[in-house]
């Protein structure tokens, strides 16, 4: 709710003055006590080329050794590596998650590099959204893994941003709070640094990239925040080694020509970064992530799924009604599809049946025809056989008769008879 809403609501509530001390001024303290007992949670995403000093800067910022190993330059794709640590300072517990990119900027073709980072951030938002939409949810126990701050490490070329930096930051500025830092700043002299910062900010502005602005609406911190907004991006140097200066051991880098002290404000902006990121604005970063970036994600996601805030008659629609309506629609759809499929099935079966019947009839016809032909042939053959048999019978009869005659007229004119026989047999 904005302050104007509260003011309008207050039209019904009239301000009263108290005549004594009631005690509700301890409410902030109660809140703080509860939060301290619960512990805080903070997630940082570090994007930068391999070897630019992300892990070293984290070690320096949080004054511990996170035991990161060197990554190689030959990763085929950009990956993200997340590690969670439990830190404690006085009685405040912090659950810190540091996500580092691995292999960013090493590939020949970097057109897909930003996609992996965007996908990771969206996944964290998605899991929070799922938890929020659950029926039985436990949000206060939920380990919030959404990214609260993104430190983008710019290589100290001294001229301007790289093309990859611009493309990536454009894609990320609506999803996460971007804080650009110039890494390895001990390679840029003071005058060059001033020009470099101006160039970077002008490039970001002219391309419409919205980086995180430290909040200036709270009077206690507005002055320092406005000043810091003008020093962005911070030029930082990280170091895990200590060098003796005077009689103290300080974090520094030792060169043959001098010693760069990390915590010397003259040398680099490390102290400013630590103050802004951790001491002053950590809670604001978390709030911005939740109220701005997460809400934007949620709205886009739900609109995609078809939810609206008001139905066509401009009446507010509750989530439940929308759910019901969607479910109905979905079920109806399902039923319709089932019907369709069934109909199609029946139709197909019918078609097949008719086809088969046709085929059967045809076959039957053919069979009958063949049978007829066969019987015709058979009868013909039978006839022929009978005629042949008749012939054989006649022939054998004639033969028998001839032999008989031959036997009878054996003693008389055998030649004559023979001739006659021959003639007779020639007749047959």
């Amino acid at each position: 709710m904005t302050t104007s809403d509260i003011a309008q609501g207050d039209k019904n509530a009239r301000p009263l003055s108290l005549s004594g001390h009631v005690g509700f001024d301890s409410l902030p303290h109660q809140l703080v006590n509860k939060s301290t007992c619960q512990g805080f949670c903070f997630n940082i995403l570090c994007i930068g080329e391999t070897g630019i000093g992300k892990s070293t800067l984290m070690d320096t910022l949080f004054n511990t050794n996170f035991e990161n190993f060197e990554s190689s330059h030959f990763e085929p794709k950009v990956k993200l590596r997340a590690q969670t640590y439990d830190l404690q300072e006085s009685n405040v517990r912090l659950k810190l998650t540091i996500v580092n990119t691995v292999g960013f900027g090493d590939q020949m073709n970097k057109q897909e590099s930003y996609q992996h980072v965007v996908d990771y951030i969206d996944t964290q938002f998605e899991s929070y959204l799922q938890e929020e939409l659950k029926i039985k949810r436990s949000l206060h126990n939920y380990h919030d893994s959404r990214i609260h701050a993104c430190l983008y490490f710019i290589a100290p070329s001294g001229h301007s941003l790289k093309s990859l930096d611009l493309v990536t930051m454009k894609k990320l500025d609506s999803k996460v709070n971007i804080i650009p830092v110039i890494a390895k700043a001990d390679t840029i002299s003071k005058s060059e640094l001033h020009k470099f910062k101006i160039k970077i900010m002008s490039e970001l502005v002219s391309n419409g990239v919205q980086i995180y602005q430290f909040p200036t609406d709270d009077e206690t911190v507005s002055k320092i925040n406005t000043a810091m907004n003008g020093i962005l991006p911070f030029a930082v140097v990280g170091s895990s080694e200590e060098v003796k200066i005077g009689n103290k051991m300080v974090k520094a880098r030792q060169y043959p020509w001098g010693v760069v002290q990390v915590e010397n404000e003259n040398h680099c902006d490390f102290v400013k970064l630590r103050e802004m990121l951790i001491c002053v604005n950590m809670e604001d970063l978390r709030e911005q992530t939740h109220t701005r970036h997460y809400e934007l994600y949620r709205r886009c996601k739900l609109e995609e799924m078809g939810f609206t805030d008001t139905n066509p008659e401009s009446k507010p629609v509750s989530l439940q009604e929308t759910y019901e309506a969607k479910r109905h629609e979905f079920l109806g759809d399902l039923q319709r599809r089932e019907e369709e499929m069934r109909q199609m099935f029946v139709q197909r079966v019918k078609e097949k049946e008719t086809e088969l019947k046709e085929a059967e009839r045809e076959l039957q016809g053919k069979f009958e025809q063949l049978k007829r032909l066969h019987s015709e042939e058979k009868s013909k053959l039978d006839e022929k056989r009978r005629s042949l048999e008749d012939e054989i019978n006649t022939f054998s009869k004639k033969k028998a008769a001839a032999e008989l005659l031959q036997g009878q007229s054996f003693n008389t004119n055998a030649n004559l008879k023979k001739d006659k026989d021959r003639k007779n047999s020639g007749f047959m």
Binding site: M108, N109, Q111, H159, S160, S163, P256, W257, V260, H267
Partner: protein
């Protein structure tokens, strides 16, 4: 020896009274070479390659103590998203003690700057090949009096010091150029590394160059008759490759002297201080001792390779096309028959293979028909 001294004949000042017939006089040859070369003048083409912002122009200015890039226009990040690599040339004439040098610096703006850098070295290799081809034509022409030698003699490749070693784009670039030009890798902007880190990075880079088999320019070994001092220097030179350099356009005052350097709140980096960086070693190697060696290797090695390759492709094309199309006069090769015979054999084999395949397919079809 300057061009003014002349070698006095030893016979006139002979101290032990040797006879004249022992003296011929060709010991003056180095003198004559020196004189002629000074008259002719020298030329040198240097290419610098690397991502923008690594200090290439500053280093070239520091090396040759001039300002070569007066009005440079640097592109913004959004203009560089899909930038292609250009080749720009600057030529200057500089003179020192009567010796004239025509120096050409070939710059490669846009290398490695786009989001998609696949094959970004192609314009560079094409340029080098073009220069070789031009020289090849000139050399084979009829009038060879004034040949302009634009071949690239050395390529300085700038490795960013912000990583842990070589990156894929570095390796691809050096491999693409190793057979065409002398590649000298340098670690740029080394004032962001402590001496320990420099050592580790150099070891890493040398190791990766070995692993990936990249042929960078190797210093020739010292002659055996050089004295120990020179040999020591030579050894040191070889052990400190790749050189970690810093460049500067500004002159600062330190310890009462004006030197080229960079001013920081925590100290002053001197470019010519050997304990700060290897700039002096690079300058010595590039200009004072090995310039001519670089030119020789370019002429004798890279150019000859290119020439042989060119002729080979041209003659094999001629033999297959049966046309004489080459723009240069080519003497018939001593073994053209071997070439044609080989080609004929190859083509025969191909034909045979195709016939076999056809047969197999026909058989299969028959088989299926029979089934």
């Amino acid at each position: 020896m300057t061009s003014n001294t002349r070698y006095k004949s030893r016979a006139l000042r002979s101290e032990d009274g040797r006879e004249e017939k022992e003296y011929v006089g060709f010991a003056t040859l180095p003198n004559q070479v020196h004189r002629k070369s000074v008259k002719k003048g020298f030329d040198f083409t240097l290419m610098v390659a690397g991502e923008s912002g690594l200090g290439k122009s500053t280093l070239v200015n520091s090396l040759f103590l001039t300002d070569l890039h007066k009005d440079r226009k640097l592109l913004n990040a959004e203009e560089r998203i899909s930038q292609t690599v250009e080749i720009t040339k600057h030529t200057v004439d500089i003179e020192e003690k009567g010796v004239k040098l025509k120096l050409t610096i070939v710059d490669t703006p846009g290398f490695g700057d786009a989001v998609n850098n696949t094959e970004c070295w192609r314009p560079i290799t094409d340029y080098i090949d073009q220069q070789f081809e031009q020289y090849f034509r000139d050399e084979s022409g009829l009038n060879r009096k004034n040949i302009q030698d634009n071949r690239v003699h050395c390529c300085l490749y700038f490795i960013p010091p912000f990583g842990h070693g070589l990156r894929p784009v570095d390796i691809e670039f050096m491999k693409a150029l190793q057979d065409k030009v002398n590649v000298v890798p340098l670690i740029s902007k080394s004032d962001c590394l402590t001496p320990n880190e420099i050592r580790k990075l150099k070891d890493r880079v040398r190791e990766e160059i070995d692993t990936f088999g990249i042929k960078v320019y190797q210093f020739p070994d010292c002659d055996s008759d050089e004295d120990e001092d020179a040999r020591q220097k030579d050894r040191e030179l070889k052990e400190s490759t790749p050189f970690a350099v810093i460049g500067s356009n500004m002159v600062v005052e330190t310890r009462g002297q004006k030197v080229r350097g960079r001013l920081y709140p925590w100290g002053i980096v001197e470019v010519e201080n050997q304990s700060h960086c290897d700039f002096v070693k690079l300058r010595t190697m590039l200009i004072r001792t090995h310039m001519h060696d670089l030119k020789d290797i370019t002429c004798d090695c890279h150019y000859e390779n290119y020439r042989a390759h060119c002729i080979h492709t041209m003659t094999s094309k001629m033999n297959t096309d049966n046309r004489v199309e080459s723009p240069i006069p080519i003497l018939p090769l001593s073994t053209p028959d071997v070439e044609t015979a080989k080609l004929i054999k190859m083509k025969d084999e191909e034909l045979r293979r195709m016939q076999e395949m056809l047969q197999k397919m026909q058989q299969q079809m028959q088989h299926e028909q029979d089934l």
